[in-house]
Symmetry: C2
DNA sequence: ATCTGTGCCGTAAACGTTTCCGGTCTTGTG
DNA sequence: CACAAGACCGGAAACGTTTACGGCACAGAT
């Protein structure tokens, strides 16, 4: 179903038909209506490639996932809730969403570079943002609209939305310190992930506010997956002066922590306090119920989409200030943050 | 970076350059080499849209996810392992992968129809296959290559790969029956999902082989998510003659089942036998360890890609028989399948 | 009556490719 | 030496759009 076929069927030229379909000037109300009716009756859909070849835009947004660094993808079955939020946010502006997958071991920058050259999308959402992320510079230089989910080390010159790690750590530490804990074990991602720096800095700040010095031995950096959560917990609990509380900044780390603690004969929520990062189905399987934080993933996805749309508009017009958002999380006071009092 | 710019830079016509890049006849070895070198030196990438407009192919495969019906997506954080397998399988054949998301409440058929009209992809991988799935007919009629992950009610005339539910149920039932269980509760998806029919049929067959009649009250159909797993377990255990074993054919249902059982004062693996469907991180958080099944998701993704590639080749040439694959799962004998013996 | 403006439409170029067709030049063969 | 065959290359059409441009007819104004 051509535009040419549609035009000849109506006895019009393809120019008028195109103008009618795109709401442009120079077409009478009557013929516009005739064209629209015929188009929907004959099931005409404009050819994406002809159109993009001509106008240079695709009306699609690319969401780039990096399997290697996306703890959100790995750890969270409801990551899809975020994608759904993104999708709904985009369709409201007539944009389509395609999800691209950079495989493990594949360089994210060359992956993105290839898709930019191909013209896959008009704008990008980046996930799995690294401490130093070449993709940010690449997109900034070429003035391609994008929003990053997560932030790099330098955070000022582009738009990102990230979990409010500062708030999370501050609130968790305040709770534990108020409960009298003095030795708090911290499990955090490796230094290549920017979150790790933020988390550690806030951890130290909280201790300082309480007049305490940070013990480096209590800080464990690792993958914060289930396996590493287990190993980290074993390591921390084997210290000469083991912690009386654990703060685990990974989605699945608490699962491993529970296992390690039980193996070592200590019951979470009784012999030791445990606080996790985010409420997810995996942690919901734990008992006693894990004290952790929660957020509205769907709303986060919507925010990503909205920010990207407003940036895209600013590209062709007035310049809009880039906006950095720390997405708030709400603490879920359940059971596991109790315990460990006898060790204090 | 045009092909025209590349040609004029080389002092050649765009025709020869194109032939050189596409390994066609009528270009001398010397100029071919010159062209390839200049192309990589200047960073030339052929424009996707110009090319597709001309030749009608995109060299990309679409993976359609339906948020509504994809228990695999909802329940499995490592669903991404499958996508990675698909991706690696496709790149070996020079194909790209795009993932499209049909939102909740969106009709999968119209979604796919729109993307077909747009020419988004040359071939399709379908996920979340329904009992009756209009997408299958749509793609078959238009002779567009596709492979379905999961099967519909009528299974003969297209290629699909699905979990070997027959084998899973048969093995689980054999184990439980051998352990002396006579009343086995079954939690299975609703009738709109084809799996449900297969599971129930195999469940009945296993009982029949043991000379037992199936009690309809022991069969619960529902969403097989965590919440429904809990509700189903409560319902089954409240029966006048409650089951001594539970077979849960959902990814996250065991999590809810454990919770319900403990609420009712029965310990899984001691007071009642429990077998789950697939080993996933959520179930790994359960204790006692859940007896369930496991499979290589990466290999499954590779198989999907390979089958789709061979179908695509057959479309333009000799016809290949469509192949239906029941993907084998291996049982993990852990702890939860023990128990319930006193009730027998 | 002529002129100007405007509403409406058709024509054609352009976006970047691929591929068919024809032409030139070299090479081999009679 | 003449001719055929082949190697190699350039030209141009085509894929399906969008849009700038020009033209026609009719309205209103002078």
């Amino acid at each position: 179903m051509d535009i040419r076929a549609l035009a000849s069927h109506l006895g019009l030229s393809i120019g008028t038909v195109s103008r009618a379909l795109n709401d442009r000037k120079d077409v009478s109300p009557l013929t516009r209506q005739r064209v629209l009716e015929a188009a929907s009756a004959l099931g005409y859909t404009p050819n994406q490639f002809g159109r993009t070849l001509r106008i240079g835009r695709t009306a699609t947004i690319g969401f780039m996932l990096t399997l290697e660094h996306d703890s959100a993808v790995h750890g969270d079955p409801f990551f899809m809730a975020l994608l759904e939020g993104v999708q709904t946010g985009l369709v409201e502006h007539g944009l389509d969403l395609v999800i691209l997958l950079a495989r493990k071991g594949e360089d994210g920058e060359t992956f993105l570079r290839r898709h930019i050259a191909r013209g896959t999308a008009d704008g990008w959402l980046l996930s799995g943002t690294q401490y130093e992320d070449a993709r940010i510079k690449l997109l900034s230089e070429r003035r391609i609209p994008f929003v990053a989910l997560g932030r790099t080390a330098s955070i000022d010159d582009y738009s990102w939305i990230d979990l409010d790690f500062e708030g999370v750590v501050a609130e968790a530490m305040a709770l534990l310190l108020a409960n009298g804990h003095r030795r708090i074990g911290l499990v955090t991602p490796p230094a290549t992930i920017n979150n790790s720096h933020i988390v550690v800095a806030e951890y130290r700040a909280a201790l300082a506010r309480a007049g305490l010095a940070a013990d480096e031995a209590l800080i464990h950096r690792g993958d914060t997956d289930e396996h590493d959560g287990e190993a980290a917990t074993r390591e921390l609990m084997a210290l000469e002066q083991p912690p009386s509380a654990l703060l685990l900044m990974g989605e699945t780390a608490p699962v491993g922590a529970y296992r390690a603690l039980r193996d070592m004969g200590r019951e979470p929520g009784r012999d030791i306090a445990v606080i996790g990062l985010r409420d997810n189905p995996m942690c919901q399987a734990l008992s006693p119920d894990l004290t952790c934080f929660t957020l509205d993933l769907n709303a986060l996805g919507l925010a990503l989409a909205d920010e990207l749309v407003s940036i895209s508009k600013s590209e062709k017009g007035e310049y809009l200030e880039r906006v950095q958002t720390r997405w708030p999380l709400k603490i879920l006071l359940r059971q596991s943050h109790n315990g460990g009092f006898s060790k204090i």
